[in-house]
């Protein structure tokens, strides 16, 4: 480590502590420089695009020459008769996703961790993250094949056991549960990867000590494994809160149909019809802006909560 004294100005009184610190950390700044450059160029520089939500943007006129309309686009969004329904659905899907999905990869990772034999563990680990690679189109089409009334496996089995057929696909009551199950099926396995990485850092000696004390498997998990990955769980949760508000548009778009639109229509699908397909750039951006804003509030809230409980948040 460099000696700060060799490069500091001769009069310590004149140099502030702050400057000293920056100087001492200059190599750290160098380390984060490429990344900062990236964010500046590719993330922040294009952010002027958000400005068009305050305009009536015409792409060929550019931002400079398109008329400014203040909050008109937002007003248009808020006064849309479907606004509250969209808001409710977006939040509902968001909460369902967070509440039902979040425990899955953790539980799965814990289960995998408890498996001693390497071969089985490796195989299951690999299998379980395969669905992540299948596109939503495939997931939805597999669902269709399984649940359709016209010869789907699930209904065939129900009938075989003497039950009534269930109209899964057309009954809006099943729309959200199917959506959540699809999300879990596809992503849970992939989510285990990070947790397994975190768990691998736990000192096995702790388990030995616990066993000496007579702790059973479940208690070991509860007292050793879980606390050790707690900060990862929280960070991932906050991150997920930040990204789920984005909902996989493709997923919802494929699931929506005339029967379930009332309960599945979210801002993303709304803006696809109302904005994107109609070439309404400003409106599309405004809706996205609003949605991101909500997401930001949620992230800030959860981050604040996390810090309040003594955890390190995401910022």
């Amino acid at each position: 480590m460099e000696l700060s004294a060799s490069t500091v100005a001769p009069n310590p009184k004149r140099t502030s502590r702050w400057k000293k610190r920056v100087l001492r950390n200059r190599y750290i700044y160098l380390m984060i420089l490429p990344g900062l450059l990236y964010f500046a160029l590719f993330k922040y520089l294009p952010m002027w695009g958000l400005l068009i939500s305050f305009q009536e943007y015409v792409p060929t006129k550019g931002v400079m020459n398109s008329p400014w309309v203040g909050f008109r686009q937002f007003h248009r969004l808020f006064s849309d008769p479907d606004f509250w329904n969209l808001f409710r659905n977006t939040l509902a899907l968001f909460f369902l996703n967070i509440v039902f999905y979040t425990p899955m990869p953790i539980v799965l990772a814990l289960m995998l961790n408890e498996v001693g034999r390497t071969a089985f563990k490796r195989i299951v680990q690999t299998i379980v993250y395969i669905p992540h690679f299948l596109s939503w189109v495939i997931v939805v089409s597999i669902t269709f094949v399984m649940l359709t009334l016209d010869g789907g496996i699930v209904n065939d089995m129900l009938q075989y056991f003497g039950f009534h057929e269930i109209n899964f696909l057309l009954d809006s009551a099943y729309a959200r549960p199917i959506y959540v199950i699809q999300a879990i099926w596809r992503e849970a396995g992939w989510g285990t990867i990070v947790y397994l990485a975190a768990i691998s850092a736990i000192d096995p000696g702790l388990y030995e000590a616990a066993r000496m004390d007579g702790a059973g498997r479940l208690r070991q998990i509860w007292h050793i494994t879980l606390p050790a990955i707690r900060s990862v769980v929280i960070v991932l949760l906050i991150l997920r809160i930040g990204s789920v508000i984005d909902h996989s548009f493709e997923h919802v778009y494929l699931v929506i149909n005339s029967m379930n639109r009332q309960v599945m229509d979210i801002f993303d699908t709304y803006v696809y019809t109302a904005g994107v397909q109609q070439g309404q750039y400003s409106y599309t951006t405004a809706v996205g802006f609003f949605k991101s804003f909500i997401g930001l509030l949620l992230v800030m809230l959860s981050n604040w909560l996390a810090r309040k409980f003594g955890e390190e948040g995401v910022y």
Partner: protein, 290 residues
């Protein structure tokens, strides 16, 4: 690892194994159907909704896909982008992640917030396109790497892992005269193989799946990665083009669609098992004494 032999522990194991097996089946069967379907004949696919073992084994779907010359070039492009991209991304991300763990770094909280902010807000397609265009990256391979070089998500995860390393380690490194870079390369990285392997996988998958960048920024068909080609095969078939096709354009068979999925995903699927050895247990044992 010494196995517990108590009854409770055995019971736990049995239930655990059973549940995991069930989960694996639920997850694997549809994929197996896709893989097996790609080796079946088109007629069989149409007849049976689920195929576990095809009656007539057929390589037609693969012959169809591999008959295009473009696929080998596209494969090369994808591999190239994935390898180079992952390396660059890991380099930049890990350095920045480590740098951000230093508590006395001025501006750290702000930078962290700014990073997370980008996960929620984006300027949109056209402004990004303009940046790339003004940097002269249009129609280059770089346009499929640089614009997505750092993922805020991955950065935050890495930072969290680095921050969780025992404090004592860095202190002793400093006492021994290690510089910042030295601490990073000699101490932190070797101890973080698990997260490095994980994030490498994440980036590799990101680059392997890259599609939108290619379409937007690359006009030269010779530079297109695998996913573009494969999506063409699938999309052409699934009737998404409202303008119904001409009389002698045959949509590819279902089997071809399945083969496309196999070709698109199996290569990257194979990466994980190789990375699993980096999830070595107890890598930290013995490194911090007292």
């Amino acid at each position: 690892m010494v196995q517990d032999k108590t009854l409770g522990s055995r019971l736990f194991d049995i239930i655990n194994y059973t549940l995991l097996t069930i989960v694996s089946l639920i997850v694997f069967l549809p994929f197996l159907h896709v893989v097996m379907g790609s080796f079946a004949t088109a007629e069989e696919i149409a007849r049976k909704p689920f195929i576990l073992i095809p009656e007539h084994f057929s390589l037609n779907a693969y012959r169809y896909i591999l008959s295009t010359n473009a696929i080998f070039r596209a494969l090369g492009v994808s591999v190239g982008i994935t390898v180079v991209g992952t390396f660059i991304s890991m380099f930049v991300t890990s350095m920045m992640a480590y740098g951000l763990t230093r508590r006395d770094l001025d501006g750290r909280k702000t930078i962290n917030f700014l990073v997370v902010f980008t996960m929620l807000f984006s300027g949109g397609l056209i402004p990004s396109f303009l940046v790339v265009m003004n940097l002269g990256m249009i129609d280059t391979y770089w346009s499929m790497i640089i614009p997505t070089a750092v993922s805020a998500f991955n950065l935050v995860i890495m930072r969290s892992f680095f921050a969780n390393l025992p404090e004592g380690i860095e202190e002793s490194a400093r006492i021994d005269g290690c510089s910042d870079f030295g601490t990073f390369f000699k101490i932190v990285l070797p101890l973080s193989t698990a997260v490095l392997a994980t994030i490498s996988l994440f980036y590799a998958v990101q680059y392997w799946n890259s599609y939108q960048n290619a379409i937007l920024y690359v006009n030269d068909a010779n530079k297109w990665p695998l996913q573009v080609l494969l999506r063409q095969v699938v999309l052409v078939a699934s009737g998404f083009s409202a303008d119904t096709t001409h009389d002698f354009v045959q949509p590819p068979e279902q089997t071809v669609k399945m083969a496309v999925i196999v070709v698109a995903t199996v290569p990257i699927l194979l990466v994980y098992p190789f990375l699993q050895k980096y999830f070595a247990k107890g890598a930290l044992v013995g490194s911090v004494k007292g």
